[in-house]
């Protein structure tokens, strides 16, 4: 088995994946970071150093949009963390009950929104929330809550939260499944040992199961973070590239798209687009590092 010289078969096995991955993913990633240092003058590309970043953070027109998008993105992420993940964990906790009937049916049904595209989800909710169609106002009226209704997607103060909740509705299946898997892997003896000590029901969830599934909650948090700071489709589908009303739903993805491609009267600028992409890269990198070095290493993992 151990023959000297170059092992050609190893190279043949590795080459296609490494080539495609390097050429289409890694190289463009670094090239985008590089393009952020250039600008175009009279259709000639010129090196300008950090000038684009100075514009992005220094020019009030740009920096205003950037901080707005970043702030909105954090709010979007915050809603996911406080709504999506707790609901996902709660559903998983109920589903993992050992004698629950129809568990597979519930699981399959609750996961349905996750497989739909943003286009379907965005338009479907846009129609349902629309004041023209009136499904939402009628249903609220039937519940005696008519005063709660507002054209949620059209109001600056509600639009972003509404979109975040739509996204929560769509993706709640993912934390549910991952936590469900983690809960199933807890051995029965551990829970029975708890019961012997009188820890049952809710107490058993808080004191035994929750600490054991913390690593999975950590993974879900970082997946949510990366997904949210890379989001674009839902906002674009429902509110368009302008992320209305009045940029109140603008997040980094839509901001980058607008800058890169241009809209209305503003021309597209790939170099400013690259600068924003570099900012997104930095933010995602910081998030992933905080997770890998700050959170993951501190979570205790239990081997059964």
């Amino acid at each position: 088995m151990k023959n000297s010289g170059i092992k050609w078969h190893v190279i043949v096995f590795l080459a296609p994946a490494v080539l495609v991955y390097t050429a289409i993913m890694i190289f463009p990633l670094f090239n985008t970071l590089r393009l952020a240092l250039y600008t175009e003058v009279d259709q000639v590309r010129q090196f300008v150093g950090l000038e684009n970043f100075r514009t992005l953070f220094g020019n009030p027109h740009w920096s205003g949009q950037f901080w707005n998008a970043l702030g909105n993105n954090f709010w979007f992420f915050f809603i996911h963390m406080i709504v999506q993940n707790p609901i996902g964990i709660a559903l998983a906790a109920i589903l993992s009950h050992p004698r629950l009937r129809f568990a597979a049916v519930y699981r399959t049904a609750i996961f349905v929104p996750t497989i739909l595209s943003f286009v379907i989800v965005g338009f479907a909710w846009k129609l349902i929330l629309s004041p023209i169609w009136g499904i939402t106002p009628d249903m609220l009226k039937a519940l005696g809550l008519k005063w709660l209704y507002a054209p949620y997607l059209g109001k600056e103060e509600y639009a972003l939260t509404t979109l975040a909740l739509i996204s929560v509705w769509q993706f709640v299946g993912i934390p549910m499944m991952l936590i469900y898997a983690a809960l199933l892997s807890i051995p029965e003896e551990v829970l029975e040992a708890g019961e012997v000590d009188g820890i049952t029901g809710f107490a058993s969830f808080w004191k035994i199961k929750l600490p054991l599934i913390l690593p999975s909650i950590g993974i879900i948090s970082i997946l949510t973070f990366v997904g949210n700071f890379n989001a674009f489709d839902l906002i674009y589908t429902t509110q368009g590239a302008l992320a209305g009303p009045a940029f109140s739903t603008d997040i980094l993805g839509t901001f980058m798209y607008r800058t890169f491609f241009g809209f209305q009267l503003q021309l597209g600028d790939p170099h400013m687009g690259s600068a924003i992409a570099s900012g997104m890269f930095g933010i995602i990198l910081i998030g992933v590092c905080i997770y890998l070095f700050g959170i993951q290493t501190r979570l205790r993992r239990y081997q059964f």
């Binding site: 088995m1 190893v10 990633l29 399959t108 595209s117 709640v172 892997s185 029901g201 674009f232």
Partner: protein
């Protein structure tokens, strides 16, 4: 098992909670599907009613089929998804085998390099990807999408598949080697069939994001003849906003293929997630 965990009241509460959430999850899909078969008047008068003899119509579907080239979009989505998945599985399995089977210098480093892409989204590099596709003439071809999705799917595929390939018995491979099989034959004939369940998991994980993606079709292949179903429905619905029958029918037609795929693969998908493939 103790009584505390089989309390009928608890079980009732559990079902009530799950049924409530199931209704929330399925309600929008139900509303869209049901109303796509109703006349415009009925859509507005009673949105929650099922279509009846006098409110039933297929006019929305007729508009969609006449105005939008949905069969072409569907075909494009199909080609992109199937070819990308095939390449992800083939290239991913080959690389995973190399990493799991052979000890060579830089093995660990190569593994880490390929794993980088699990956390860093490929969209960050969009500006440079578009530039590259323009200069190579691949823009507005399905190949642009296939290459991007292949690159996007590889990191997780290599990661998951190499975990599984480590579990394939060495005795089997060494027996093959003694019989004089080449490394390629060992991979394709002995190892691949054994990791088929893991390959299916990887395929299902990749299928949904590829099929549903809007960003890359919008940027790399927006031409009429290369539109995917997702982009096609987005554009179509944008143009027909006021034609409620057409919009609802277009949405239903976009839901249908994913639902069929989901019904076929849901068991595989759920087993894949719950088997802890994504730890």
């Amino acid at each position: 098992m103790s009584k505390a965990r089989n309390n009928p009241l608890n079980s009732f509460a559990a079902h009530a909670a799950l049924i409530t959430y199931t209704l929330i999850a399925l309600f929008p899909v139900f509303v869209i599907l049901v109303n796509s078969f109703k006349t415009r008047k009925a859509i507005f008068r009673d949105p929650l009613a099922l279509p009846e003899a006098d409110t039933f119509t297929l006019i929305g579907y007729q508009t969609v089929l006449k105005q939008g080239d949905f069969f072409l979009y569907f075909q494009n989505s199909m080609i992109v998804t199937v070819v990308s998945l095939t390449l992800v599985l083939l290239f991913g399995a080959m690389a995973a085998f190399a990493l799991a089977e052979y000890k060579f210098k830089g093995n660990l480093l190569m593994g880490l390099y390929l794993a980088l892409g699990i956390m860093i989204p490929i969209r960050i590099g969009t500006v440079a990807i578009l530039e590259m596709m323009v200069s190579s003439g691949l823009v507005n071809t399905l190949w642009a999408l296939i290459l991007v999705y292949t690159a996007q799917g590889l990191p997780l595929a290599v990661f998951i598949l190499s975990e599984f390939m480590r579990q394939v018995s060495d005795d089997l491979k060494n027996a093959g080697r003694i019989d004089g099989l080449s490394e390629y034959t060992i991979f394709f004939r002995l190892v691949l069939p054994l990791v088929r369940p893991a390959m299916a998991t990887v395929a299902v994980f990749n299928m949904i994001p590829i099929w549903n993606d809007l960003w890359f079709p919008l940027i790399l292949a927006p031409a009429e003849e290369t539109k995917t179903l997702t982009l096609g429905s987005q554009v179509f619905i944008g143009q027909f906003v006021t034609d409620w029958n057409a919009v609802l029918s277009a949405l239903s037609m976009a839901i249908l293929p994913v639902m069929i795929l989901y019904v076929i693969f849901s068991r595989q998908l759920i087993r894949g997630i719950t088997s802890g493939a994504v730890k």
